[in-house]
């Protein structure tokens, strides 16, 4: 594998890590009323659908682990949630990949619901305390809304950066 293609293979991981970093910023456009979107999960979902070879389970694991480590939560909570959603999307890839327009957004919404549902169950067992549902639903809603402008950016990265760098394939 050449260096450019190796670099291209790391771009989804880098995008995920940048998303995690951005979601940790101490700036809230809503004054803290709404939790920040799960920006780290967007590249995981996107590349899991269109280029699963660039988004293996290990990369999803790494992004989830970064989310856990940089948000200060229980180690493994978001990792396991990302992996659960990844497994679902991976199994239903044909259905998800065929979606376009609003369907693509709804597909991401479903994946987000699985992530949040898994996090809810894990958080419940971990803390032995029913976590509040409203912030989770708000986070799903915000993430879905943010996916709309992020999707073209991810498409651009895939078509203009990742694609040319891996042109030998």
């Amino acid at each position: 594998m050449s260096i450019p293609s190796l670099f291209a293979a790391t771009i989804p991981l880098l995008c995920g890590l940048i998303g995690v970093l951005l979601s940790c910023m101490p700036v809230s456009l809503t004054g803290g009323m709404v939790p920040p979107p799960l920006l780290g999960f967007m590249p995981v979902y996107f590349w899991c659908l269109i280029r699963p070879d660039l988004m293996p389970a290990a990369v999803a694991f790494a992004v989830g682990l970064a989310q856990d480590l940089l948000t200060g939560g229980p180690v493994g909570l978001w990792t396991a949630s990302f992996i659960a959603s990844y497994a679902f999307v991976d199994r239903q890839r044909d259905s998800f990949a065929g979606l376009a327009g609003i369907g693509a957004i709804l597909g991401f919404a479903l994946a987000m619901l699985i992530v949040s549902g898994a996090a809810f169950v894990i958080g419940w067992v971990y803390f032995w305390h029913v976590p509040p549902v409203t912030p989770l639903l708000l986070q799903v809603a915000v993430s879905v809304l943010c996916y709309i402008p992020v999707l073209p950016v991810l498409h651009w990265v895939q078509q203009r950066v990742v694609g040319p760098l891996r042109s030998e394939f």
Partner: protein, 364 residues
């Protein structure tokens, strides 16, 4: 056909292997995290330390853009804001003067009553470089760590009140568990009834007040402060106000961790940093004829009909005129301790009147 099916099944199972491994590893991480496995915490702090420059770098443009956008929004309010701030500044100057006077009076009374001095503590000012407002946790990351003397358990305050406490300290960064986090438990005192309670975070805006006495009757607006039980947090730090609604007793917090930009980490246990001792040139010139202890003792009480000596005048004028306590104020008050003191205390007097750099620090 059978072979083909077998091949497909084999390839599928081999493709699923990393996924299964990742899932198992994630569950193991959860179990190890629940067991407070030490290396995880160290790895977390090490990664945060390494990520701190990246977090700060990412913050710079976003914070600048936010400030710029905020500047545009406030551009048209500059004149009214300026007027308001001028009035507020004038009002605060009056309060400052009153506070300085009261502070000196309290010190005077403490000396008279020989009260145990309040515990003093140093503080480290740190910037918030990351914030996590997830559904399960409310934490912030500060750019100060063990290198600056930060330790787990220390209180974190902003200008309004208690924000939270440190729960993990790395070399250059530290994590703060804020008061409304699900895992936060802080012993508090509700004034004026001195009712003890535990402030329990629920990830909602207002944490609950739990473990209240059965006969406790609380009203909206009563002040919640730290009780200091356990010895980790200093007592008396402002936390919030009681908010009773629908049978639930909550605390409306003074501090907002979501908007806090700079915070102070209080080192409650370590002694305060000592200032360098002033040289002889820094000290005020001694009076030509210092009043005798008996004379100053008679002159000191404020109810004295004729406070002729300059000591009382010195206190009043110094407090009224100076923007901050000066070194001239404490001397007369310390002389005033003498008449009520025992001989042993009087023998200790020269040490007490010696310049104490800690006083300066406390004044600041």
């Amino acid at each position: 056909m059978a072979n083909g099916t077998w091949r497909i099944a084999r390839s599928r199972s081999s493709a699923q292997l990393p996924l299964v491994l990742s899932a198992v590893l994630a569950l193991l991480l959860l179990v190890a995290g629940k067991a407070h496995f030490g290396p995880f915490e160290r790895a977390r702090t090490a990664i945060t330390d390494k990520a701190a420059p990246a977090l700060q770098a990412v913050n710079v443009p976003v914070v600048a853009a936010t400030r710029w956008a905020g500047g545009i929004r406030h551009f048209f309010d500059v004149y009214s804001d300026n007027q308001r701030l001028r009035e507020e500044n004038a009002r605060l100057l009056q309060w400052h003067s009153a506070a300085v006077t009261l502070q000196s009076q309290i010190r005077h009374y403490q000396l008279l009553l020989k009260t145990v001095p309040d515990p003093s503590y140093s503080a480290v000012t740190a910037k918030v470089i990351a914030r996590s407002s997830q559904p399960f946790l409310e934490t912030i990351v500060l750019n100060a760590g063990r290198r600056e003397g930060v330790k787990p358990g220390q209180a974190v305050v902003d200008v309004r009140g208690l924000v939270g406490r440190i729960y993990v300290a790395g070399e250059r960064t530290s994590w703060v568990i804020v008061l409304n986090d699900l895992n936060s438990r802080v012993p508090v005192l509700i004034r004026p009834g001195n009712v003890q309670a535990i402030l329990t975070g629920t990830n909602a805006t207002e944490p609950n007040l739990e473990a209240l006495p059965q006969n406790a009757k609380l009203k909206n607006g009563e002040e919640v402060v730290t009780s200091g039980d356990g010895g980790l947090l200093p007592p008396g730090l402002p936390v919030g106000l009681v908010s009773v609604s629908g049978g639930e007793i909550k605390a409306a917090l003074f501090a907002d961790p979501l908007t806090a930009g700079e915070v102070r980490i209080l080192n409650f246990t370590s002694p305060i940093e000592q200032m360098p001792k002033p040289s002889d040139k820094d000290l005020p010139a001694p009076p030509v004829t210092p009043p005798s202890p008996q004379a100053s003792a008679v002159q000191q009480p404020s109810e004295a009909p004729k406070p002729t000596a300059q000591t009382v005048h010195t206190v009043a004028s110094a407090l009224a005129a100076s923007p901050r306590p000066t070194r001239t104020a404490p001397h007369p008050t310390r002389h005033a301790v003498q008449p009520g003191t025992e001989p042993a205390d009087q023998a200790r007097q020269p040490d007490d009147t010696a310049p104490n750099p800690t006083d300066d620090q406390n004044d600041q």
